[in-house]
C-alpha cells in the first residue's frame, strides 16, 4: 500500500515483486470464479477442464478431515508439486493457523496463494501469521467483520467467509456473509465519531474502519467458502455479495463431479440469471450428503482469533 503519486514516477526499470497491489490483484482476477479443492493431479485437471479459476491443493477434502479426525496439517510437497505441474491456473495450498513455518514451506514451493485455514488444526491459539513479510499472498477465513479486518491488518490480501467446511450445509456461510456485509452497510451510515466505537466493538484498526465507511466494501476481495454444494448455493452467496466462491467437498463428494463443477462455474458467472441456474441444475445427480450443524462434534469456524 502507500503508493507514491504517478507524477513522481519515471521509467527506471525497477520491478518490485510481492507488493500488496500484486497480491490483491491476483484475488481481483479470480472474482466471479470458482476455486476448487483437489487432492491429486487428476482432480486438478478435472477442475481446470470444468472452468475453475484456481485450485486448492490439499490431502483430504474437509468432509474427510471431519470424518477421520486427528491433526490435519499442511499437505505433502510432492502432492502440491504434482498439482502445480498438472494445471495452468493458480494453485493455492493450506497452512495451519499461526504455523508460519508451514507458510514458509508453501512459499518456497512457489504456490500462488497460501490459505491460513481453520480447516487444518491450529498451531497457535492466540496469533495468526504475520503475513506482511511474504512475497506470496495469503487468504484467510472470517466469520464477522472484526475477524476479517484483523486478518487484513496482518496482511491478508483476500478474505473468505468461513461457513462450516465439509458439511455441504450453506447456513453458516450465509450467516457469516450477512454478518460481514451487514456491518459494512451499517458502518457506511455511521458518523465519524461513531467509527471509533465500531473499531472498539470490532477489535479492528480504526484506519480500516474509516476506509470501509468511505468505500462501502472491504479493502480486499471477499469470497465465500464452506458449505457450497449446488449451483443455487453459489447463486445465493453471490447475490448476497460474495465476489467468488470456494468449493471444497461439494464437488468431489457428489455423484458426478465433472458436471457439477461445470454447473457451479456457470451458476457463479451468471448468478443473477435464474433461468440459467435452473438449466445447469437439471439432472446433476446426487449432491454430497451434508450434515446438520447441530450434530457436529467440531466447529471449524470457531478456530481463528
Amino acid at each position: 500500500m502507500g503508493d507514491s503519486p504517478i507524477e513522481s514516477r519515471s521509467a527506471t526499470g525497477n520491478r518490485p515483486t510481492g507488493t500488496f497491489t500484486v497480491k490483491r490483484g491476483l484475488a481481483d482476477m479470480l472474482r466471479g470464479g470458482v476455486v476448487m479443492d483437489v487432492v491429486d493431479a487428476e482432480q486438478a485437471k478435472l477442475a481446470e477442464d470444468s472452468g475453475a479459476v484456481a485450485v486448492m491443493a490439499l490431502e483430504r477434502v474437509p468432509a474427510d478431515i471431519r470424518r477421520d479426525g486427528g491433526v490435519a496439517r499442511m499437505s505433502d510437497p510432492a502432492m502440491i508439486e504434482g498439482i502445480k505441474a498438472a494445471v495452468t491456473v493458480p494453485v493455492m495450498a493450506k497452512a495451519r493457523i499461526g504455523h508460519f513455518a508451514e507458510a514458509q514451506v508453501l512459499a518456497a514451493l512457489g504456490v500462488d496463494y497460501v490459505d491460513e485455514s481453520e480447516v487444518l488444526t491450529p498451531a497457535d491459539e492466540a496469533h495468526h501469521i504475520d503475513k506482511w513479510g511474504y512475497d506470496v499472498p495469503f487468504v484467510c477465513g472470517a466469520t464477522n467483520l472484526g475477524e476479517a479486518l484483523r486478518r487484513i491488518s496482518e496482511g491478508a490480501a483476500l478474505i473468505r467467509s468461513k461457513g462450516e467446511a465439509g458439511t455441504g450445509n450453506i447456513v453458516e456461510a450465509v450467516r457469516h456473509l450477512r454478518a460481514i456485509l451487514g456491518d459494512i452497510r451499517r458502518i457506511t451510515q455511521a458518523d465519524s465519531a461513531e467509527l471509533y466505537g465500531w473499531a472498539k466493538q470490532l477489535a479492528a484498526p480504526i484506519g480500516l474502519v474509516q476506509e470501509i465507511a468511505g468505500s462501502g466494501r472491504l479493502p480486499v476481495p471477499l469470497f465465500c467458502a464452506g458449505g457450497i454444494a449446488t449451483p443455487a448455493d453459489a447463486s445465493l452467496v453471490m447475490q448476497l455479495g460474495a465476489e467468488a466462491v470456494f468449493v471444497g467437498s461439494g464437488i468431489f463428494k457428489s455423484s458426478d463431479p465433472e458436471r457439477r463443477a461445470r454447473a457451479i462455474v456457470e451458476a457463479t458467472a451468471h448468478y443473477a440469471d435464474a433461468h440459467l441456474v435452473a438449466k445447469v441444475s437439471t439432472g446433476l445427480g446426487d449432491a454430497m450428503a451434508g450434515q446438520e450443524i447441530d450434530t457436529l462434534d467440531v466447529r471449524l469456524a470457531a478456530r481463528g482469533w
Binding site: 514516477r9 520491478r15 497491489t21
Partner: protein, 207 residues
C-alpha cells in the same frame, strides 16, 4: 456510444469504473444480446481458461468473434490479451481464442504469482509521466508480426545483484494492430486512465 465490458469473470468492475471516469457509457456483456450496437468492447483480466469456457457456454464466442473480425474495436488486458492473440504457448490445447492480433504469447511467461511485479513504462503516444503498470501472472510476448505497432516495451530489470531473472526485458507489453489494443498488464488496477482514453479514442475513429 456504448462500450461493452465482457462480464463473465475477472476484474470487470474496474474497467466499468474507468469508462465511467472518462464519461463513457459502459455495458456489461454476458450474453449475445448484449453485443448489439456497441462502439467497442473490453476483455478484462481474469483466468483465460475460465473465460474461454464461459465464452463458449454463454453463446458469446461465435458472435463476438464475428464482430471482432468485422473490426469492432477491442481492448484486451492480460487474460483479454491472451484471448485476442493469434498464437499462445503453454496454454491449454482446447482454449478458445479470437486470433485478431498477430502476436505470439507465452502464458504465465514471467513465472508464478511470486514473480508478479509492478514497473513504470514509457508508452508511445501517451504524454506526461510514465505509466505505472501492474503485471499479474502476465503473458510474455514472444513474437510480433511486422504489422504490429509496439507502443511500449518492458525496461530491462534495474536490479542486477542476486538471483533475479530479467525475463521480458525489451519485450512488447502494449501492442496495437488496427482496431485491436492489448496490454500484458492491468491498467484498470491503477487510477491512470490514459490507456482507456486511448481505447475510447479508437472507438471514435481517432488514430
Amino acid at each position: 456510444m456504448t462500450i461493452g465490458v465482457l462480464a463473465l469473470q475477472g476484474d470487470v468492475r474496474e474497467h466499468m469504473a474507468a469508462l465511467a471516469d472518462l464519461g463513457e457509457v459502459g455495458r456489461l456483456v454476458s450474453g449475445p444480446a448484449d453485443l448489439v450496437a456497441l462502439a467497442g468492447i473490453i476483455l478484462p483480466g481474469g483466468e483465460s481458461t475460465t473465460l474461454s469456457m464461459l465464452l463458449e457456454s454463454s453463446g458469446l464466442l461465435d458472435p463476438l468473434a464475428a464482430a471482432l473480425t468485422d473490426g469492432l474495436p477491442v481492448f484486451g488486458t492480460c487474460a483479454g490479451m491472451i484471448l485476442l492473440a493469434e498464437t499462445v504457448l503453454d496454454g491449454r490445447p482446447d482454449q478458445r481464442r479470437f486470433g485478431v492480433i498477430d502476436i505470439t504469447l507465452r502464458r504465465n511467461g514471467y513465472g508464478r504469482q511470486v514473480a508478479s511485479f509492478e514497473c513504470d513504462l514509457n508508452v508511445a503516444g501517451i504524454e506526461g509521466p510514465s505509466v505505472h503498470a501492474v503485471f499479474i501472472r502476465a503473458p510474455v510476448v514472444e513474437a510480433v508480426s511486422p504489422d504490429i505497432e509496439v507502443l511500449a516495451t518492458l525496461p530491462d530489470h534495474a536490479y542486477t545483484g542476486g538471483d533475479v531473472r530479467n525475463v521480458g526485458g525489451g519485450r512488447p507489453v502494449v501492442c496495437r494492430q488496427g482496431p485491436v489494443l492489448v496490454t500484458a498488464f492491468h491498467p484498470e488496477l491503477t487510477e491512470d486512465r490514459r490507456l482507456h482514453q486511448l481505447f475510447v479514442g479508437m472507438t471514435k475513429g481517432e488514430r
